[in-house]
């Protein structure tokens, strides 16, 4: 019990004193996950719009697959990306394995299905007359998409925030693709795994508290966004 209490005390000291290693890991984690979420949004939002507002053969199947991929294990995504970017893989020449860029790619692929699904759900709440109104006002296809996204902006923001939450909290793909290289690809989750296995509990707890803090901030922002969408 004392070990845990000591661990917490030391962890808080590490955070309060802005321990360089802790801060460096936290900043890298944010950089990788924010970039992955941003890039995933660029794909998921238009894709969700297209899937929802266009009729095509197999649309229901596509949506079912997307929904199934919500719960895809992160290690499976890690394995898929590993096969893709390893030296013998089709994208091996890009040299992405064990780099932050590779981790960004893995996190993107991890969160895109969930974001597409949530964006489709957001668009399905748009009244058909709203879509017709925007078209009748002389909107081009792109203008129509932007105007409709503005209509459901809170739900879309919520989808992006939830995507970020999934990206920052995953460990499987980050470990497999990043390799947990100190000072290069080590992020909060992989670091916690490693430090715990090494018995360095204060550092693990400090990193865990930061991750928890980020989760708390995400939840607060999400609540504010959802509150605004209701008013």
């Amino acid at each position: 019990m004392n070990d845990i209490i000591d661990g917490f005390i030391q962890a808080i000291q590490l955070i309060v004193t802005l321990n360089p290693e802790v801060m460096e890991i936290a900043m890298r984690t944010l950089m990788i996950s924010l970039t992955a979420t941003f890039l995933a949004s660029l794909v998921a939002i238009p894709a969700g719009w297209w899937i929802h507002f266009h009729e095509f053969a197999g649309k229901r199947v596509v949506i079912n697959i997307i929904q199934t991929l919500y719960a895809v294990p992160t290690v499976l995504v890690g394995l898929f990306v590993y096969l893709l970017i390893s030296s013998s893989g089709p994208l091996g020449m890009l040299g992405l394995l064990f780099t932050p860029a590779g981790m960004i790619l893995a996190q993107m692929l991890l969160v895109i299905p969930m974001m597409i699904g949530l964006v489709i759900t957001a668009f399905s709440g748009v009244d058909r007359t709203v879509v017709d109104t925007i078209s009748s006002l002389g909107a081009t296809g792109y203008q129509s998409m932007v105007a409709i996204i503005k209509e459901v902006r809170f739900a879309v923001i919520a989808a992006v925030i939830l995507g970020f939450g999934r990206a920052i909290s995953e460990v499987g793909a980050a470990m497999m693709i990043g390799g947990n290289i100190r000072g290069y690809t080590r992020v909060l989750t992989t670091s916690i795994t490693l430090e715990t296995s090494m018995g360095n509990l204060p550092l693990s707890i400090a990193l865990g508290l930061i991750l928890l803090g980020i989760a708390l901030i995400i939840t607060v922002i999400l609540n504010i966004v959802q509150e605004r969408s209701r008013t």
Binding site: T129, V130, D132, T133, I134, S135, S136, L137, G138, K150
Partner: protein, 360 residues
């Protein structure tokens, strides 16, 4: 001018729009009336090029619409459409009204001036910064009209614009429609199932039943000279009775209906199956059964028994059983003077010119 020729729209097995042919001149208020589900909204959406036709053509100011998206957008930008359900986007009134201009690349001072002008047109000055979804239904519909008018459309399509509104809001919208047409010369195509509205706002009216234009003409023609019994029933004509022409003489036809002979001004030939309608206002009631036709200017006098009397504002609607139900509108004074009451035998008289004859 809008020219619609041989227009069809079929969805699955249902023919929503069936061989519609219309010409709507510039500057006209054109009413499209018809029962719910008759195809009015589909026709309006097709004119705004939101729905494609299965067959036929729509020509807007000389340009025939094609399936080309770019051309459709160009044509749609000459029009504005307001939908039955008051729809505002989740932003301020100003931003709502500015959408169409922003889509067309209008910015800065011009955008601001035109938006303010449009908001003023619909009588919502001072509402610019209000969050539009918090407005009343009538105010939302006026925002929708301002949003369509801000782009100065050549054609304004109004799909049952007052269907969900209270009487006060309906009146404001109706006045606004007249103002827009008079001030800007905008061609207005308005669908409605409110017959009074269609009658007093529109210059010309088309009746849509089952996806087809069953009659088009002035409100006078449509409401007083319907082409068939279905239109007559829809426009609210009373006393629609079926019969057969048995004799014709000098423009007068004698029609046998339920064992009674009715004379009417008609060119229908002997043997024709027809429907007649007589407006309840055009029938007079007499208590003396011995009235001779020659003593009355009315060529038709039919005996019947009063079955029901119903108050209708300052008037009384009297229903007679003449072998068929015949409705007559009389004043309350007449009811007292003649002693109209259920069970009493009365004579209903009307002129031959008051009988409207329709093909069966």
């Amino acid at each position: 001018m809008i020219e619609i020729s041989g227009l069809y729209r079929k969805v699955g097995d249902r023919m929503l729009v069936n061989d519609v042919n219309l010409t709507i001149p510039d500057g006209m208020i054109f009413g499209i009336i018809g029962p719910s589900g008759s195809g009015k909204t589909t026709l309006m959406r097709m004119i705004d090029l939101l729905d494609n036709s299965t067959m036929g053509s729509i020509t807007i100011n000389g340009t025939r619409a094609t399936r080309d998206k770019k051309q459709q957008l160009e044509l749609r930008r000459k029009m504005g459409m307001v939908f039955q359900k008051p729809i505002v986007l989740s932003t301020t009134v100003f931003e709502n009204v500015s959408y169409g201009l922003r889509f067309r690349g209008v910015k800065g001072d011009e955008l601001k001036a035109r938006v303010i002008e449009a908001i003023d047109l619909v009588g919502l000055s001072g509402y610019e910064d209000r969050y539009a979804p918090t407005l009343s239904g009538g105010e939302m519909q006026r925002v929708a009209i301002a949003r369509s008018m801000v782009t100065r459309p050549e054609v304004l399509l109004l799909d049952e614009p007052t269907a969900n509104l209270d009487p006060a809001s309906t009146q404001k919208i109706e006045e606004l429609i007249g103002t827009i047409n008079a001030r800007f010369g905008t061609t207005i195509i308005m669908s409605t199932h409110d017959l009074d509205q269609g009658q007093h706002i529109a210059h010309r009216i088309a009746v849509v039943i089952g996806g087809m234009i069953t009659q088009a003409g002035t409100p006078e023609e449509v409401f007083h000279k319907p082409l068939n019994s279905e239109i007559a029933k829809f426009v609210g004509l009373e006393n629609i009775i079926g019969g057969t022409v048995t004799k014709t003489e000098e423009g007068l036809a004698t029609i046998l209906t339920h064992g009674k002979e009715v004379e009417a001004v008609s060119t229908e030939g002997v043997g024709s199956q027809v429907f007649i309608s007589i407006h309840p206002d055009d029938i007079t009631l007499h208590s003396g059964l011995g009235i001779e036709k020659s003593k009355s200017s009315a060529r038709n006098c039919i005996i019947g028994t009063v079955t029901v009397t119903t108050l209708s504002g300052p008037f009384v609607l009297v229903t007679l059983d003449c072998g068929f139900p015949l409705k007559v509108i009389v004043t309350r004074r007449s009811v007292e003077d003649i002693g109209i009451q259920p069970g009493k035998e009365m004579q209903a008289c009307f002129k031959a010119s008051a009988v409207h004859v329709m093909k069966s």
